[in-house]
């Protein structure tokens, strides 16, 4: 049965429904240094192409926007980014690349997101829903 795990705020992206496998990062992401756009990889998280990437926040370089843009340039874009806290550097990367970006407003019945990596989920309107 579908289960809603988080309420989100849509920051970038116009689609009503985004689905993919969840990849959950425990630590903040440093896109510059960790993202390999041509391979669709983020070091420490593995393959992110077509997946929903959840992470606390992005840190480090202001050049990171180009790494996010690069993921889409090489057609290896994630289905969506879901951040605890959206920062301006990720924001412009998503605006240029068209990768949907969401911010977590509230967790529903689930204090720990870590165990969710590998689960299949959809973002439907403002809800993140497990569908497997």
């Amino acid at each position: 049965m579908d289960k809603a795990v988080a309420r989100l705020k849509r920051v970038v992206g116009g689609r009503d429904r985004v689905c993919g496998e969840l990849v959950v990062a425990e630590e903040p992401i440093s896109f510059l240094g960790d993202a390999v756009p041509e391979k669709g990889l983020i070091r420490g998280l593995g393959d992110v192409a077509g997946k929903i990437v959840m992470y606390p926040t992005a840190i480090g370089s202001t050049v990171s926007s180009y790494k996010i843009y690069g993921l889409s340039y090489y057609r290896k874009a994630p289905a969506a980014f879901v951040a605890r806290k959206v920062d301006p550097v990720t924001l412009i990367g998503c605006v240029l690349s068209g990768i949907p970006l969401y911010e977590i407003k509230e967790l529903i019945e689930l204090p720990d997101l870590r165990g969710l990596s590998g689960r299949r989920a959809c973002i439907i309107d403002d809800l993140l829903v497990l569908v497997d």
Binding site: G33, V63, L91, I92, V95, L96
Partner: protein, 388 residues
């Protein structure tokens, strides 16, 4: 969002297609940041220049803009490029990489970009209260925290768009209410640049939220230490600003208006985990992250005595002066002007291990340059370079 008549004209395409596109992006991002209007900026600083960082996607984006005849409408400085003048045991970067790098440099220059330094405050010191559109985390932190100017921590391509339209969203540190501290960080035993860098790096590890504003006590007032501290904080965190006691303009008033919720003490043992006391092994000594000021370059010149007997690389911009660059080169130092080895794949030159006094460089060198990095004081690096 409220737009002035001129901003509306930009958005409607009255100026050019590229101004329209840039304005569209600036407005879109501004709306997402909750800005009610835009603010005119006096200086833009663009990051994302090294070909190793931006790759083909960035090269195409920048070249496409330049080939459309796009020009920056405000004073615009840009970050350094990859270290194309670097050489180690006779090895240099490949011609293809150098050609691509120069295409980025030429495109940015055609649009009106200048300086090629990560320290734009050495080119034009921002005034207190001035609105800027700066990318490059160390520069953003310096502008907000030391100069008392106001800028968001912009992504590289956003600063590019803002340089074209001369506007930034009125959000984040452009608004006084977002410049007050919310946490207290006490530094103990910061006694040189490397320990300041370690302290900044640790602070970012703990306080990495994009809207955190720490109030910092215990940082010595030496400019060089402050810059190394902020650069390292920029690498491990995502905040655009710190209020530093004795340094940030109006720090007392900002503290009085703040609401301190967390407290962090960074002590001797924390710092010791990052700073090394002896040079274990190193192929190259790196100083200049962020780019050196003329004063720092002169000090290094003085400290080098008879000259460098080991591979010492310093990096800076033309602002240090041709005389200093020439004098350093005569002492056997490799001076990388307008360039940055930290954003260069140094492993391609056969380099395996480096020493640096920069926490920012320590963070990025293994990932971007593919080398082992050790954090050690500038004094130790210079002693090592002299052959002692």
């Amino acid at each position: 969002m409220y737009l002035t008549r001129e901003e509306e004209r930009m958005l409607s395409g009255e100026y050019s297609e590229y101004v329209r596109k840039a304005m569209e992006v600036v407005v879109k991002v501004g709306e997402m940041l909750g800005a009610e209007r835009l603010v005119e900026v006096v200086h833009a600083h663009v990051s994302g220049v090294s070909i190793f960082n931006i790759g083909e996607p960035g090269l195409h984006l920048i070249e496409e803009m330049a080939s459309a005849g796009t020009k920056f409408s405000v004073f615009t400085t840009v970050n350094p490029y990859a270290a194309i003048d670097a050489e180690f045991l006779g090895r240099r970067l490949g011609e293809d990489m150098i050609r691509k790098q120069m295409r980025v440099v030429n495109a940015l220059t055609r649009m009106g970009g200048r300086a090629f330094t990560c320290a734009p405050y050495h080119i034009r010191m921002p005034k207190k209260g001035e609105h800027l559109a700066w990318a490059e985390s160390n520069a953003v932190l310096y502008a907000n925290s030391v100069a008392g100017a106001m800028t968001l921590r912009e992504g590289g391509p956003m600063a590019l768009m803002e340089a074209i339209v001369g506007r930034a969203p009125m959000a984040g540190p452009h608004l006084p209410e977002n410049r007050v501290p919310d946490s207290l960080v006490a530094l103990e035993n910061v006694r040189d640049g490397a320990s300041a860098a370690a302290a900044g790096y640790i602070m970012g590890k703990h306080l990495h939220s994009p809207d955190v504003v720490p109030y910092v006590v215990g940082l010595p007032r030496q400019e060089e230490y402050v810059r190394l501290f902020l650069a390292a904080f920029g690498a491990s965190g995502s905040s655009p600003m710190a209020v530093i006691e004795g340094i940030t303009p109006d720090y007392r008033e900002l503290l009085a208006r703040g609401d301190i919720r967390d407290k962090l003490v960074i002590g001797k043992d924390d710092i010791r985990q990052y700073v090394e006391e002896t040079v274990a092994d190193a192929d190259v000594g790196l100083i200049g992250c962020p780019h050196l000021s003329r004063e720092e370059a002169l000090e290094i010149l003085e400290e080098l005595g008879d000259g460098a007997r080991r591979e010492l690389w310093v990096f800076t911009g033309t602002h240090v002066g041709a005389d200093v660059i020439e004098a350093l080169r005569r002492k056997g130092v490799r001076v990388l002007v307008g360039q940055c080895p930290v954003v260069t794949r140094l492993s391609l030159l056969g380099i395996e291990s480096v020493i640096t006094d920069s926490g920012k460089a320590l963070h990025y060198l293994p990932k971007l340059a593919g080398v082992r990095a050790h954090l050690i004081s500038r004094e130790h690096i210079l002693r090592w370079a002299r052959g002692e």
